[in-house]
Structures are given as structure tokens and as C-alpha cells.
């Protein structure tokens, strides 16, 4: 089907759709009335204050929490493959290599391919030399790179990232951002939450602003940050965060 599509015509295929989606935890409505269409190639940044619902939205999109209004679309006739990165990755008390292999095993990647995919992924993130080290002895930045390798090896359609560099020092942050960009260049769709608006500007093609469980704005990146435009719903937030707004 893809052969027939002219290269520049028509929007990219849909991967996930949220229509009036919501998530409720007991008494609390964490997310409400969210409309979102995620297409292949999107690099969507989620911004907003703490507790606005960014993490909940990520979890809903990934399918980790139960909610309403979510639809996943098949890709080339097979189900969607998604992976997620967390602020502090959970690494097992095993070697770097074993952590990646186990992730491949959990996703039922055929045995014959596992070793090769693992080695390639570790090379990509620059951890090839540290493959036999206990994963827990790595620095914060290295651990997040391992998490990226773990996700990359799965060849996902979508990568969700929940404040992936919030715990890292600036140089580690730059390394991880570079790798995330490479992943996107490989064709992986990104959805990430961040407090760092500079990061959003650097990496995103699209920015969505959440407040109190609702998505108030969803704009292409340059429009979102354009100060000449009439104030958007995120204006107050941006004013607080960006010194020059």
C-alpha cells in the first residue's frame, strides 16, 4: 500500500488515535477530553506543570493504564510495537548485555536475531565496550543510553519518553538527546514529556500543552514557540518558563 502513496502527498499513516480520551484513578480524573492523532514521523513534546497529566497521557498512549477513547492502528498489517523510557530506568542486577537480551526475550524476538540486534543496539549508543559490566555500575547517562539501546533493539514504531534527561547532567543530557534524534531519524515516532523547553524546541516537531488533565494546545513546534502569535492557552505557562517571552 505504501508503494502507491506519492512521496509528498497525503498525511503520514496514523499510529494512535485518542478521541475524547480520559483516565480516572478512583475519585480523581487525571485526564479528560483529550483528542490526539499520532502519525508516523511525529516528534511530539508534552509540556505542562507537574501534575498536569503528561505522564498519565504517556501511559495511556502506551497502554499501561486503562482509559477510554484510545485506538491503536495496525502497521503494515502487524500490531504496533512501542517502547518506553523512564526518567530513572529500571535495570536488572545483571550485565549491560543481559539487560538488552532480556528485553528482546520478553518481546519474543526470535532467538536467532537476539544476539545481533543486541550487539548493534549497544554499538549505536556507544556502550559496546561495556557490554559485560554490571548495568548498575554505569553512570546516570550511561544507564539512560542502555535504556535507549534496550528500546532501539526492539525496532519500535513509537518510543515514549517520560522526562528522559531530567536526572542527567548537561553533557549526559546532550549525549542522550543526540541518540534520541538519531532514533527519530531512523524513522521512530517520538512522544516525550519534558520540563526543559529548550529540549522541546530542539527535538520536537509538535508541542502539546497540558493543564489540569486537559490538552489545551497542540501546535507545530515553531508556531508554539512563536512569540509574535496571539497568546495561546499556554501563554501564561510559557511566560513563566521562558525568560524572554
Amino acid at each position: 500500500m505504501k508503494r502507491d502513496e506519492p512521496v509528498l502527498a497525503g498525511p503520514a499513516p496514523r499510529l494512535l488515535t485518542l478521541k475524547n480520551a480520559g483516565v480516572r484513578f478512583g475519585e480523581v480524573q487525571a485526564l479528560e477530553g483529550v483528542d490526539l492523532t499520532l502519525r508516523r514521523g511525529d516528534r511530539l513534546a508534552l509540556v505542562g506543570a507537574n501534575g498536569a497529566g503528561k505522564t498519565t497521557l504517556l501511559r495511556l498512549l502506551h497502554g499501561l493504564v486503562a482509559g477510554s477513547g484510545r485506538t491503536a492502528h495496525a502497521v503494515d498489517g502487524r500490531p504496533l510495537v512501542a517502547a518506553m523510557l523512564f526518567q530513572r530506568p529500571f535495570l536488572l542486577h545483571l550485565s549491560v548485555r543481559m539487560n538488552v537480551l532480556l528485553a528482546l526475550w520478553l518481546r519474543r524476538v526470535p532467538k536467532a536475531e537476539r544476539a545481533a540486534r543486541c550487539a548493534r543496539a549497544l554499538q549505536r549508543v556507544g556502550l559496546g565496550a561495556l557490554a559485560e559490566r554490571p548495568a548498575r555500575t554505569l553512570s546516570g547517562g550511561q544507564q539512560q543510553r542502555l535504556a535507549l539501546a534496550r528500546a532501539w533493539a526492539l525496532q519500535p514504531d513509537i518510543l515514549f519518553l517520560d522526562e528522559p534527561t531530567a536526572s542527567l547532567d548537561p553533557s549526559a543530557r546532550r549525549e542522550v538527546e543526540n541518540l534520541i534524534e538519531q532514533l527519530a531519524a531512523d524513522g521512530v515516532t517520538l512522544v516525550f514529556s519534558t520540563h526543559n523547553l529548550g529540549q522541546a524546541k530542539r527535538l520536537a516537531s509538535r508541542v502539546a500543552y497540558l493543564e489540569a488533565g486537559r490538552m489545551l494546545t497542540d501546535l507545530p513546534c515553531d508556531l508554539f514557540f512563536d512569540t509574535r502569535q496571539p497568546p495561546s492557552a499556554a501563554a501564561a505557562f510559557l511566560a513563566g518558563e521562558l525568560p524572554w517571552a
Binding site: 501511559r59 530506568p89 529500571f90 542486577h93 545483571l94 520478553l106 555500575t137
Partner: protein, 240 residues
């Protein structure tokens, strides 16, 4: 009383250095029975505990409460129940293992199984609380999560096994009833202590008790040394 205790210390030392063959047999039997029971209990108990920590089903809380209640199982009650099961007049009498070390292993396994399961459940549940979401995101189901968390927490699980071993090797109620304290066959340290006490040979009984503590203490030191090596190497690497 102070003099009596000093006598016992001297007697205990004499026992250790004298290396009586019968005493060695009794100590060996204690270690063998309790170690076997712990091995069996660890196998089933860790699997059950980890699964219970991760799985959710209606009545889950009741099961956990019941498991924690079993921690207080009196050893003598376990002995009685196992005796009635293994007695020739009981349902499993045909196996004919009453008054043998096998019966003792069975009884102690039943006794420490809840200990292993409950402690494992607590440990794994804590790990699950922190990391369950990431495991699910990686595609791990209940069984895979339980297995991976057991692997992840293996150092802490050693302490669980040692706790179970301490409980097993120090109990007397169960092994007395199902073993019969038969000289040379089912006599272990605790039943020997009970016997010497009832014979009025209190210094000897106390000496055996001190010996039991010393044996268990030695095992704990050994394990700590092994763990210390592993942990130390990890710490050095982290700082490098």
C-alpha cells in the same frame, strides 16, 4: 546458676574439641534435615511468594493475610498434623516414612514454607511497587515479572533462606513428634537437648544449645563473607 553456666561453656568447648562421633552424627543430621527442608521450601516458597507479589485476583488480600498468619504456625502443631498424615492409620501411611529423617524433612519443609513465601512476597512486592510499571512496559507478564524480580533480588533472598534455616534448625516440636528422637536415626540437636534436659543433665543440654548456636553462627558468617566479596567488588566498580 552462674556456676552452672560456666560449667556449660566448659562442657560446650569440650564437646567441640573432643569430636565425639555420635555428636558429629547428631550435628550432621540437624544440618542435613534442615538444609533439605530449606532447599525444598525455597524452591516452592520463592516461586509462590514472587507470584503472589505480582499477581492480582479477587481475594488477593485475604490470601496474603492467611500467608502471614501461617508465619505463626507452632512447630508442634505442624508435627502433629504431619504425624497424623504419615501414620500407618493415616492417608499417607503407605509410604511408611514415619519415624525417619524423611518425615522430619517433610515436617520442617511445611513449617518454613510460609516463612520463605511471606518474606519473599514482601521483598518482591516492594520491588514490584517501584518497578512494576517498567516491567509491564517491557512486555513482562505475571510469571516473567516474578522470575525477573527474583533474579534481581537474589542477594536479599539469601537472607530469606537463612531466616528459614534458622527457624528450621532450632525447632524441636515437629521433628520430635514425626521423628521419634530415635537414637542414631532421628536424633537431632534440638531433640537431644530436650532429652538431656528431661534427664536432668542440664549442663550438657546447655552445652548442646551453645553448640547449635555456634554452628548456625558459623554458617551466617560464611554467607556474610561470600556476600561481602560480591558487594565489595560492585561498590569498587561504581566508584571507579
Amino acid at each position: 546458676m552462674g556456676g552452672g553456666f560456666a560449667d556449660s561453656l566448659r562442657a560446650a568447648w569440650a564437646l567441640v574439641t573432643g569430636f565425639d562421633a555420635r555428636l558429629a552424627e547428631i550435628v550432621g543430621l540437624s544440618l542435613g534435615v534442615s538444609a533439605s527442608a530449606c532447599a525444598l521450601a525455597a524452591g516452592f516458597g520463592m516461586a509462590a511468594g514472587a507470584w503472589l507479589a505480582v499477581a492480582r485476583f479477587p481475594g488477593h488480600r485475604a490470601v496474603v493475610a492467611a500467608l502471614n498468619t501461617l508465619l505463626a504456625l507452632p512447630s508442634v502443631v505442624v508435627g502433629l498434623v504431619v504425624y497424623l498424615l504419615l501414620s500407618r492409620s493415616g492417608p499417607l501411611g503407605a509410604f511408611g516414612i514415619l519415624f525417619t529423617t524423611r518425615a522430619m524433612v517433610v515436617a520442617q519443609t511445611i513449617l518454613v514454607l510460609p516463612v520463605v513465601a511471606a518474606l519473599t512476597r514482601q521483598l518482591i512486592a516492594d520491588a514490584w511497587r517501584g518497578n512494576g510499571e517498567q516491567l509491564r512496559s517491557m512486555g513482562a507478564g505475571v510469571v516473567a515479572s516474578a522470575a525477573l524480580l527474583l533474579l534481581h533480588e537474589r542477594l536479599a533472598l539469601v537472607t530469606v533462606v537463612l531466616t528459614a534455616f534458622g527457624r528450621a534448625i532450632s525447632e524441636v516440636g515437629a521433628v520430635m513428634i514425626v521423628g521419634g528422637n530415635i537414637d542414631g536415626v532421628t536424633r537431632v540437636m534440638t531433640t537431644a537437648i530436650a532429652l538431656e534436659t528431661s534427664k536432668g543433665d542440664l549442663p550438657l543440654a546447655l552445652a548442646l544449645g551453645l553448640l547449635l548456636l555456634a554452628v548456625v553462627g558459623l554458617i551466617n558468617l560464611l554467607v556474610a563473607a561470600l556476600q561481602g566479596n560480591g558487594g565489595g567488588a560492585g561498590a569498587r566498580k561504581a566508584l571507579a
